[in-house]
Amino acid sequence: MATIETNVASVAHVAEHDHHEPQSFWRKYIFSEDHKTIAKQYLISGILWAILGASLSVIFRLQLGFPDMKLEWLRPVLGGWITEAGKLDQEFYLALVTMHGTIMVFFVLTAGLSGTFSNFLIPLQIGARDMASGFLNMLSYWFFFLSSTFMFISMFLETGPAGGGWVVYPPLSALPQAIDGSKMGMTLWLISMALFIVSSLLGGINYITTVINLRTRGMSFSKLPLPIWAFFLTAVLGLISFPVLLSAALLLIFDRSFGTSFYLSEIYIAGEALPNVGGSPILYQHLFWFLGHPEVYIVILPALGITSEVIAVNSRKPIFGYRAMIASMMGIAFLAFIVWAHHMFVTGMNPFLGSIFMFLTLIIAVPSAVKAFNYITTLWRGNIVFTPAMLFSIGLVSFFISGGLTGIILGNSALDIQLHDTYFVVAHFHLVMGAASAFGLLAGVYHWFPKMFGRMMNERLGYIHFWFTFVGIYLIFFPMHYIGIAGFPRRYYSFTAYDAFKTFGDLNAFISIAAVMTFAAQWLFVWNFFYSIFKGRKAPQNPWRSNTLEWTAPINPGHGNWPGEIPAVYRWPYDYSKPNAPEDFIPQNVPFSQTPESNLPHENEMIAMEKEIEAQNYNDQFKQPH
């Protein structure tokens, strides 16, 4: 982590800001309040979780692809979870599926994605010294760390971690008699999620406050880079929906531990009739999906924001339809709250509600389509530079389209009857939210790595990593649609019990091979990432010739990000390839008065306002008396 060291010392300090005592190792790298360090903490935690989460999927893919394979060689790692016959234990299979989902959705694509890039980019792109509250920000990471610890420990319990699927529907998750995973593993899952929610809320409040209050001079909302819009809306989504998950989790804790009957009714299990009556498992599903659905957008919106930026920069073109992009994100964010019950069409919910939720769900396709079209049009007549980040962004758009289209089928309640809980659903959401968000995360890492660590990642390795991953993911999830159309249910340990599901053995083996290959390719990235932190080529000031403010900060920004004044902002972030401009980019901090040759008519009028913008300084924390 030596590269994080600041070079601010070499630059003249502004008079107002002169308390720059060197911090202890603990305050600087561990309990840091600096948004850049916290972002890196989230990123590295996210990468570690991603390796674990992906490994779990490889193990259960082995079971699905090669049901007769002897897994004796996994005994040193999995111990008693390999049965006497050398097979994966059936409950452990469910635990693997559950943990894979939980880890990927929450720890990798929520914490790893939002936690990393909201923290890193919000202050740097809006021109702020740091987050509104560095202390809350630090708490947010450490709550996440604590949450991670509980989840990690749960994987080593003798009875195994939670095993009822990542949605942990009661009564299965409420009754320890029903499955071993609902014993201590489930308790730790709930504790971990409660802590995770606290972490999310602390982070979210901070992101929202920072975006609203700490924008630099001239940085109006209409000049915000699209990633910031995405992170802002994501934080709002999280702030409104995560508390509902907390309530669902709390009621489940009550049912499990204090004998209440929120979700339990008329149950006979393990030879006894339980006293609980009057509860409803459907209540849990409503509460869960009230978070669970916005969660999908919490995962994908930051990825879309990152992609918008990367595609514009590397097409050397303004993002097409900046306002339409913001409007569609707002539309998606709003609709995200009123579509949750499309996960519940066949739960026995009133069919009339099903109709309502089908209408609302399919409306979401419209803003999503607008986004896809806008990305494609941004490429049109561009001058495209294929950095690894750009490759992953184009990959994301492809996944977002391919996976999103099948959502039109699943959102249709009549068609969902057959496809609900089949592999069609698995294929759909892995493409549109899993792979697409993961690609957003990877694009972000490749793009902002120079700003994070002051060094470049190896581009060649990045290309190879991209092509293997991109092709690999299509090879895994495209054929899964076929298995779903054939009716194969998800979360099945094996399909041998049914005549109807005896087919597709070869295809399942093929998918597993593709999964192993894709997983193997990720080690290129891991190596590239950690190697480049220490040994990468030194980064130039603005490696991608980008307009946003973070590239005006020193290559290794120190505490407060900018030595001296925070730059003021005069123009939107997408002045790429402007006619008559000498360069193909004009950074946000270049006033219109300096670019008379390329100004559009209405922009010449803005010159008069520059003095006004420069006179403001109320957002610089370093200028506050303290």
């Binding site: 059936q90 409950e91 469910l94 529907y169 009564p171 299965l172 009754l175 029903a178 499955i179 339990l264 009714s265 149950i267 006979y268 299990i269 009739a273 409803s280 498992p281 303004p318 993002i319 097409f320 339809g321 026995g348 109709s355 209408f359 419209v366 389509a369 607008v370 079209f373 494609i376 049109w380 561009g382 001058n383 495209i384 530079v385 294929f386 492809s398 389209i401 391919s402 089928i409 249709n412 009857i417 057959q418 060649r460 290309y463 092509w467 092709v471 299509y474 090879l475 076929y482 054939a486 979360r491 099945y492 340990y493 094996s494 019990a497 049914y498 005549d499 109807a500 390839s577 193909d584």
Partner: protein, 363 residues
């Protein structure tokens, strides 16, 4: 397999990336690698399209046979209609994406077109998906409304209960065509679904370990769960509905192809209809199966008449019947004793006559 070919192609391209890059560094910031990546996108478009088309044609051999229910054929039609529309959108958008990536790759000295917005264009591609979506939603909604409507009066009512890890069906019996009450507190090792014998409608109910369905008659499944969530999935009939403890659910449909017909249609003499669980329920989730048999109405009636009521096979439970209904309930026990006289040693003498009476009423 075309996928593998594709992989090999990509691999070989990758080696060329490596080779060229070795010497390409002199070309400046953007070198040969940019060109290779652009070509790879085109290659991916072409080989990917071929692979997608070929794999679909190959996989379609293994899809489920034509639906065995009228509503299933309706949703299948809508599914393939929607699929056709999204397949067009899938190919067009992906093709544009990859083609533009290839076509507008970096060229030294070229400048991109400054093209920040076009309201007309944006309006067009907002309205078109909205209209298509509205049509799909409307057709889907009509199908959904019809499928979820109240079951017809004359529907055959079958109760199906999920438990870890099997299913139990209960039929209304042939006397009153009415399922008796149940209460989960009455469940025990014999009375697996909690039949309430204080309700006289339950006397002739019988349970089975198969789902026997008459063809061409509406069937109403009353779905229950005993312990955790389960889900009734009849893939061949396009039927799915969760089983929820404490909240009975239902689904009605018409099976219009008998098992025998399906044997001929699929050319598979071992063809069986199956019922699968599709809501994760624990260790045995993947094998929680029930066989389903569809027969014509006469065969179904015959089968029903051959089944013995649950009470008659469990005569000990006569004690649970309230005093005033004892006489009525006794008939079932006696009838069983008279006709089958297998397990009941305490069969009354007049059992034969009563049994004959019951058999007569069954016809």
């Amino acid at each position: 397999m075309v996928f593998l070919v594709l992989t090999v192609v990509v691999l070989s391209r990758m080696t060329s990336v490596l080779k060229t890059l070795g010497g390409g560094a002199t070309e400046g910031r953007i070198g040969m690698s940019n060109r290779i990546n652009a070509i790879l996108f085109m290659a991916f478009l072409i080989f990917g399209s071929i692979a997608a088309a070929w794999s679909f044609i190959d996989a379609s051999n293994y899809f489920l046979p034509e639906a065995s229910s009228p509503h299933g054929r309706r949703t299948d039609f809508l599914f393939w209609l929607t699929m056709a529309i999204i397949t067009v959108a899938f190919f067009v958008t992906n093709a544009l994406l990859f083609y533009f990536a290839f076509r507008y790759q970096y060229r030294a000295g070229k400048k991109a077109t400054y093209y920040p917005e076009n309201h007309k264009l944006e309006l067009i591609w907002t309205v078109i998906p909205a209209v298509v979506m509205a049509l799909l939603v409307f057709t889907g909604w009509r199908a959904w409304r019809d499928i979820m409507s109240e079951a017809p009066e004359d529907a055959v009512v079958i109760e199906i209960t999920g438990k870890q890890f099997n299913w139990i069906t209960r039929y209304a019996g042939s006397d009153d065509n009415k399922l008796g009450n149940y209460n989960y507190k009455l469940i025990d090792a014999n009375n697996e679904v909690g039949i309430d014998l204080s309700d006289e409608a339950s006397f002739d109910d019988f349970v089975a370990s198969e789902l026997y369905i008459p063809a061409n008659k509406p069937v109403l499944l009353k779905i229950r769960a005993r312990d955790v969530l389960h889900s009734v999935f009849l893939p061949h009939f396009r039927v799915k509905m969760d089983a929820v403890p404490g909240m009975p659910t239902r689904f009605w449909f018409i099976a219009d192809k008998t098992t025998e017909q399906m044997k001929n249609e699929t050319g598979n003499q071992n063809f069986k209809y199956e019922l699968a669980c599709t809501e994760v329920c624990g260790r045995g989730h993947f094998s929680m199966k029930m066989n389903v048999v569809v027969v014509d109405e006469d065969a179904y009636n015959k089968w029903v008449s051959e089944q013995k009521s649950w009470l008659s096979t469990n005569p000990d439970y006569l004690a649970r019947v309230p005093e005033k209904l004892k006489a009525k309930a006794a008939k079932y026990v006696d009838a069983a004793a008279g006709t089958a006289s297998t397990d009941s040693t305490a069969a009354p003498v007049e059992g034969g006559a009563a049994g004959a009476a019951v058999s007569a009423s069954m016809q």
